[in-house]
Symmetry: C2
Subunit: 268 residues, 2 copies
């Protein structure tokens, strides 16, 4: 596999780390991939941190990663606004979400608000990310902007049903925040994180890379592997996260990766 791939896109949770623990052998593998001239990117649908916030997490785990290598869905939302030249509209963004999205919009100098009163007709986009402080005020405010402001965009970082805030249990994910706004507007959002192709488009365009030489590495069949397969990339399942070998090989599973490994430590 290594010879046929120039770029590796790694999902983070279940691939690089589990909760707050690094998966054994990961630092050495990343080192060897870099030494072999491979480009590597890290992708996460968790929008609560910005790239800067994730850089701090990588640092704390002893991993030396460049902010440009990190694609959080908070960054994806900002990158989407840049691609669509949102800044030129002179409008602002209403955010349902946490610090990650706020920090990424600050970096591209797009004004945002999370506390507006009364209804602000200058809001040209609503971005909805995971928000542990979701409440009726935020839902109603997003509804007013999307339904009443002409041309107001409805952007969500992802539609993941559940997320892993702790190892103990599954937690309601951004599917619930996005679902709340879908439910009161009847509108379908633009999704910028996985499995939207936006990020792979961005990497392929920016670095002039052939998609067939990009490998998507993840631990979830219905998100990561589908994401790789449907974007013309090589896909690699790692069993270090939520998918067991038994589940992967069972007759019920129709989603197949090009490769599968126990952990990315098996790359070398």
């Amino acid at each position: 596999m290594l010879d046929s791939v120039d770029v590796f896109i790694f999902d983070c949770d279940g691939v690089i780390w589990k909760g707050d623990s690094l998966i054994p052998g990961v630092p050495e593998v990343l080192e060897k991939l870099r030494a072999a001239g491979k480009k590597i990117f890290f992708v996460t649908n968790n929008s609560t941190k910005s790239r800067k916030g994730y850089k701090a997490k990588f640092d704390s785990l002893g991993l030396n990663v460049n902010p440009e290598e990190i694609f959080s869905s908070s960054f994806a939302a900002a990158a989407y606004l840049e691609q669509t030249k949102f800044k030129e509209t002179g409008k602002k963004v209403y955010i349902i979400g946490e610090r990650g999205i706020q920090e990424e919009l600050d970096l591209i100098n797009v004004p945002w608000t999370g506390f507006a009163l009364p209804h602000d007709e200058d809001v040209g986009a609503v971005i909805v990310g995971f928000d542990r402080y979701i409440n009726y005020y935020k839902i109603q405010y997003a509804q007013l902007c999307i339904n009443e402001n002409p041309g107001c965009q409805f952007i969500v970082t992802n539609l993941d049903a559940v997320t892993h805030l702790t190892d103990a249990q599954e937690w309601a994910g951004n599917g619930s925040m996005a679902g709340a706004i879908k439910g009161c507007t009847g509108k379908e959002p633009t999704v910028v994180g996985k499995p939207s192709p936006l990020m792979i488009d961005y990497i392929a365009d920016k670095y002039k890379i052939d998609r067939s030489r990009i490998c998507m590495v993840g631990d979830r069949l219905d998100t990561d592997i589908v994401f790789g397969n449907s974007n013309g990339c090589v896909s690699c399942l790692t069993l270090s996260g939520v998918t067991t070998e038994e589940k992967y090989l069972s007759a019920n599973n129709k989603i197949k990766a090009n490769y599968y490994v126990d952990s990315i430590a098996d790359f070398f």
Copy 2:
């Protein structure tokens, strides 16, 4: 029309009242319908009040209405639990919603909770109604019960995108609370309010009435009139609410009622 109909089902907001004001002529019409031997029912998707709560609202407007004539979606949720013999399971209900649902479950002696900690495996149904105090805790708790408790039901009072808390603007409706729970569970709920047929089934069964002699009277084409038409009832649009005559008669509108009136005051 009056001769061919035995039962009138009235939507409330925009038909009987607008916000806190009675629509002129309504008390006299209701009086005359009763005198002519017609059965009348009042139906609302607003679940924040119980039938007792609505009785108080009718009283305050000077309308003499029997609690058995009121079908709020909070009552519909309780009636659904009764029909499906929920009490015999010995389980309890987790409620996202306001006082209306709580009071209706108290009346049928079904235990409920809105404040449980930790995860209670004894929750056998989650009922989701309009809730101005929606928050992440409630979303996560509902998700845990629906995803982790075997056989746990997911019931919503309605899926209305917006509601009219005030005349000033449209407010995010129960579509947002229901959407949040759909979004983190990936499950489709059982809907007990309009446009679910449960209420018409209940009335037709309980009072042994032929559906073709029930008239659904409402001000919304895509909910009330569709609701009447799709359940084999007579339908009557009233222009006293959100639908104008111009909109109703325009070529773009494909939803037709059997009758239409300026206001139910025109019945006589």
